[in-house]
């Protein structure tokens, strides 16, 4: 990407921050009410204070580890289950209904389940993160696999490929763009459930800390948590998108979208005057 585009992107973020600062420092209250919102300055100074402390980085480390483990599990199992459901009638009939009923169960509602079911709190947290990311990956994979062009599979079948071969040579690579869409959504959903998951924690984690800050109504602290989670989420999802772009490099991608110069629709043709061009042999190349 060009330097100019990076600039635009940075400017966009800066403008958003500026708007926030403006709205909150002027206590604007036009339908939306910014009066009680912390200003950017307050959040930034709280952020600065936290950045220097060891617990901040400890929280960060814990959360990232939990999310990454949960997400990796979700990626592997989600792709596997999604593919199975899309490809096998038995899997669709046996797993499908269970998955569909389990899918909407709220992350926080899993807090007691995780506490009761799993031997340790860490496992409980990873379990909730996993669940959050698992279903988006599963559903996207299922959709992507179902939408595959059938002729690819047919080609491999006529070469004597079996189910496994079709799976690894056609289904997975062909569904990869859709699967990566699901992974990108999945990592996002894992983060949006990090507070719910870390409610179990009792000790560390960005989500845990944010909720603790909220219990003492420390809004700048809550915003520091939100910003931190936003940044971490951005990093992880950028990593996923980057991998995705590498893995689906075969997809046609417009270079930099060609600016359409000049006329698109030529106006009324000029009067038919130009003489028919010479039809004799012309040099071409």
């Amino acid at each position: 990407m060009s330097a100019g585009r990076w600039l635009v992107r940075a400017a966009s973020l800066a403008a958003a921050l500026g708007l926030w600062q403006l709205l909150t420092s002027l206590d604007v209250e036009l339908w939306l009410r910014f009066g009680q919102f912390p200003t950017v300055g307050e959040v930034a100074s709280a952020f600065g204070d936290r950045l220097g402390t060891a617990p901040y980085w400890q929280d960060l480390g814990y959360s990232v580890r939990r999310i990454v483990i949960g997400f990796l599990l979700a990626a592997v199992l989600g792709v596997a289950a999604g593919t199975a459901i899309a490809r096998s009638r038995w899997a669709a009939d046996l797993l499908g209904p269970l998955m569909e009923v389990a899918r909407p169960i709220p992350a926080i509602a899993l807090v007691p389940v995780a506490i009761l079911l799993l031997p340790s709190n860490e496992q409980g947290i990873v379990f909730i993160t996993f669940t959050a990311a698992f279903f988006p990956v599963l559903v996207s994979t299922r959709h992507a696999v179902r939408a595959l062009t059938p002729v690819w599979e047919e080609a491999v079948l006529t070469m004597g490929g079996g189910r496994l071969r079709v799976l690894f040579s056609v289904v997975l690579p062909g569904a990869l763009p859709g699967i990566f869409g699901g992974l990108s959504v999945g990592i996002g959903v894992a983060w949006i459930c990090v507070i719910s998951a870390e409610m179990i924690s009792g000790e560390y984690g960005v989500g845990y800390r944010t909720w603790q800050d909220y219990t003492v109504v420390d809004y700048p602290g809550v915003f520091v948590g939100m910003v931190t989670i936003g940044a971490l989420g951005w990093l992880t999802s950028t990593a996923v998108e980057f991998l995705g772009r590498r893995a689906t490099a075969w997809l046609p991608r417009p270079p930099e979208r060609a600016p359409s110069r000049a006329v698109r629709r030529t106006a009324a043709p000029p009067a038919v005057s130009s003489p028919a061009p010479a039809l004799e042999k012309e040099p071409v190349s």
Binding site: V111, P112, I115, S201, G202, Q212, D213, T215, V216, V217
Partner: protein, 423 residues
């Protein structure tokens, strides 16, 4: 892992659940942890029996997750308020992990730990004004109990007379700030903290009910039986932490503030020398009696079935563990002035004297007791009444009104006027 009591033959891990933000439990949580007394006691025990003892501290926002973890056998010792304790007792029994109340952390004999507050600019003057208004509280907490009882006393049907929103305390605080509720009934730390930050003012003082409230320590029965010694150590450590808090209340408050993010001034309001809470591990009979009176309220809200309080309360371990003499019962509160940079406060016999002393002092915080209930409050947030040459402080406008009605010539004055009058 948090597998409570998990051990190889050499190592014993004890998991303690606490609520750092519920500062009435600091002697079994935040303060105890930062003082390290429990670890000290266990180390001594370890020297004797050759085992290694480890403590896992887990800090939660409310009592519910602690109870949940206890029923799953993952937390051994937990601390929480009186209503959550009853839920803890009921669920523990129900789910085959019975628990026992073994000590109290802090108490207030009149119920001053719960307060109903409104937004600073609110026009509401008394509890009766709440009729038809939106009030946020947490169902299943002592604050809800206070609200229900107070409304009944004021002749308002707690079900239909107001529109009650059941929200987490922090959600309720946001709702009050955001203006989507008219009042907030909450327990320790929130009312004091919100008032301190200027986000709320007191509307109703729980002490009006004159029913004791407290926080206590609960332990899993299985743990208590298997590791009675460790429990003793805990109670011993709690007692030592209580001693410390009573001896050095300012240092304790500052340490707690540091750990929790609650302003030290708000911590001191509750945990100070004459704070709203009195710290004493003893299972006082009046507290147990009050606990019994709470059961019907929870039952009426269909939150628990019958709770057998007598079998829940177990004073034996505390008796076994502590050998120091009992503390006296909480006495009358006094005015306190906390000057910047000081590690102890000055005490005054009357609010007027405190106001006088304010002049020229670099005040960190000034506290005055309510004339009617004795509940401590910030001097600059209190409602002041000039009665002749005397100056009296009240937590809520309705207290002041009551007083003014009874005393001819008395009138409500602003804080600035009060300060001026005092000198």
């Amino acid at each position: 892992g948090g597998t409570a009591g998990a051990e190889d033959s050499r190592t014993v891990t004890v998991t303690v659940g606490y609520q750092s933000k519920t500062i009435n439990t600091v002697t079994a949580g935040t303060l105890l942890r930062s003082l390290g007394y429990f670890e000290e006691e266990l180390a001594a025990r370890g020297k004797k029996d050759g085992k290694t003892y480890k403590v896992k501290w887990q800090d939660y926002a409310t009592g519910a997750p602690i109870t949940a973890q206890m029923t799953a056998g993952k937390i051994d010792i937990g601390s929480m308020g009186d209503f959550p304790l009853l839920i803890n007792a009921a669920r523990g029994k129900q789910l085959g992990q019975p628990t026992r109340l073994v000590s109290v952390t802090g108490y207030n004999l009149r119920g001053g730990l719960n307060t109903v507050v409104t937004a600073p600019g609110s026009h509401l003057r008394s509890l009766a004004d709440l009729r038809g208004r939106k009030v946020s509280t947490s169902v299943g907490s002592a604050a809800d109990g206070t609200l229900v009882r107070a409304l009944k006393k004021a002749g308002i049907d707690p079900e239909k007379g107001i529109s009650k929103l059941n929200q987490q305390p922090s959600v309720g605080a946001s709702a009050l700030t955001g203006g989507s509720v008219d009042a907030l009934s909450q327990f320790v730390a929130w009312p004091g903290q919100l008032a301190y930050e200027g986000k709320a003012k007191a509307l109703y003082d729980g002490a009006d009910l004159n029913l004791p409230t407290f926080h206590g320590v609960t332990v899993r029965e299985k743990f208590a039986e298997k590791r009675g010694g460790v429990l003793d150590d805990f109670l011993q450590a709690q007692r030592r932490a209580t001693d410390y808090l009573r001896k050095r209340p300012v240092a304790a408050a500052e340490s707690v503030a540091e750990e929790t993010g609650v302003p030290a001034e708000a911590v001191y309001l509750y945990n100070g020398a004459h704070g709203i809470a009195t710290f004493d591990p003893a299972l006082r009979p009046e507290l147990i009696a009050a606990l019994k009176k709470d059961v019907p309220i929870l039952k009426a809200a269909k939150l628990v079935g019958d709770v057998d309080v007598d079998s829940f309360v177990d004073p034996e371990p505390l008796k076994r563990a502590t050998h120091t003499p009992a503390y006296p019962k909480a006495g009358a509160a006094k005015s306190e002035l906390w000057v910047k940079g000081q590690d102890s406060t000055r005490t005054f016999d009357s609010p007027k004297q405190l106001l006088k002393a304010l002049k020229g002092a670099e005040v960190r915080a000034a506290y005055v007791p309510d004339t009617l209930t004795g509940t401590l409050w910030y001097a600059d947030r209190a409602v002041w009444v000039a009665d002749g040459s005397d100056l009296r402080a009240f937590v809520t406008p309705s207290h002041a009104k009551t007083y003014v009605e009874r005393h001819t010539g008395a009138r409500v004055v602003g804080y600035a006027d009060a300060v001026r009058l005092a000198s």
